[in-house]
Symmetry: C2
Subunit: 203 residues, 2 copies
C-alpha cells in the first residue's frame, strides 16, 4: 500500500455519509478505522487492479461497507461470473447490501436483495471527455442520499438518476469545467430528461 | 439479389402492419411493390452486409418505410456517426420517421422526431442462446402495434417493452423452444418485470 498515510481532518470526523474513493483497499480501511464513529452509510469504489493484487484486503473491506460501486467488467472479475444478475448476488454475499454496477454509456444497475433497478445513460450528441464520469456519478449519488437522508430503495433509485445526470454533465467538457458552475435549474432540467427518457405506462 | 423471387400469398395482401425481415433490400422492395395496397405501417430490418454492398438499394427502400430497426454498430455504419443521438437524426432524415437502435444486452433506444425512449434489457441469470432475439423483438414490437392499432409514441414505448419481453424469453432456451408455448400470463408477468426494473418517481 506504499507510504501514503491518510489523515482525517477533524471537520470530517462526524460525517454520516462516506464515499471511499478508489485507492488501495488497505488505505480505504485505514480511513474507516480512523473515524471516531462508523458513518451511517459507507460507499466504496474500487477497480480491477485491487481485485487482482489486493483481493484479500478488498474482501475484508467489503464486509465493512454498505454499498459498492464498480463497472461491469470488474463485477465479473470479482464474482467470477459473466451473468451480472448472478454476479450481483455473489458480490452482495461478500458484504455490501447495495451494489451499483456501472456500464458507462449503457447506464447502470442498482441491486439490493432481490430488487434491481436499471438507470439509463442519456444518449448525448457529443461526449467530449469521459474522465471523471465514474467519480462524478458516485458523488452525485451519495450527495443525493446525504441531502435527503433517506436510505430506502425508492430513494436510491432517485439518487442513481441524480448521479447519472451529474455524470452526463461531466463528460460534456474537459475535466471539471462543465460541473463547477452548474446551477440547480440545469441539474433539475437534466434530471427531467432522464424522467422523459425512461418513462412509460403499460395499460 | 440472386434468384429469389418473393411470392405474396393472397391472404397476406391486405396486411396493415408489415415487417420486412432482413434480406437483400432489392427483395424487400419487391415485396412492397407486390402488395396491392401500401400497409399502414412498414417496418424494416437490415444488417451491416447490405449497408456495405447494397447501400443504394437500401437508401431507396428507406424512403418507403415507417420504421427501421438496426443495432448500434449498424446505426453508426449507416450514418457515419459514432454518437447514436446524431446517428438517429441522420438516419431518420433518410426516410423512416421511427428508428429503433438495438443494443443487445444493453437494451434498445426508440427515436421519433426529437423524442427518445430507452428500453432496458432484463438482466437474466442465464442467456442460453441469443439466436433469434432480434427477430423476436421485432415481431413482439409490431404485433403489439397491430393488436392495439395505435401508432402514437406512447404506444410505441409499450410495444418496445413488449418486444423486449418476448426477446428475453427467446434467449432462455434453444431456438423457438421457450416462446412456442408461452402463455399470456407468462408474458404479462415478464412485462411487469420490465415495469419494476425501469420505474422510479422523482419528488
Amino acid at each position: 500500500m506504499g507510504d501514503f498515510d491518510p489523515k482525517i481532518p477533524a471537520s470530517y470526523q462526524d460525517c454520516e455519509f462516506l464515499m471511499l474513493g478508489n485507492t488501495a483497499p488497505a488505505i480505504q480501511s485505514l480511513v474507516l478505522d480512523r473515524l471516531n464513529n462508523r458513518p451511517k452509510f459507507v460507499m466504496l469504489d474500487t477497480m480491477n487492479l485491487w481485485i487482482d493484487i489486493a483481493n484479500d484486503d478488498l474482501k475484508s473491506l467489503l464486509k465493512r461497507v454498505d454499498c459498492l460501486t464498480i463497472n461491469d467488467e470488474e463485477a465479473r472479475m470479482l464474482s467470477g461470473d459473466y451473468s451480472l444478475r448472478r454476479a450481483a448476488k455473489t458480490i452482495m454475499a461478500m458484504g455490501p447490501k447495495t451494489l451499483i454496477i456501472k456500464k458507462g454509456e449503457h447506464g447502470a444497475l442498482l441491486f439490493q436483495n432481490d430488487d434491481v433497478f436499471f438507470c439509463p445513460a442519456l444518449p448525448l450528441e457529443e461526449v467530449f471527455d469521459p474522465t471523471g464520469a465514474g467519480d462524478t456519478f458516485a458523488g452525485g449519488f451519495i450527495s443525493y442520499l446525504a441531502s435527503t437522508n433517506d436510505l430506502s430503495f425508492e430513494n436510491m433509485k432517485r439518487a442513481i438518476i441524480h448521479g447519472s445526470a451529474m455524470a452526463s454533465f461531466c463528460v460534456e467538457k474537459f475535466g471539471t469545467e462543465r460541473i463547477q458552475d452548474l446551477t440547480q435549474e440545469e441539474i433539475s432540467a437534466r434530471v427531467q430528461e432522464f424522467v422523459k427518457l425512461a418513462s412509460f405506462q403499460m395499460i
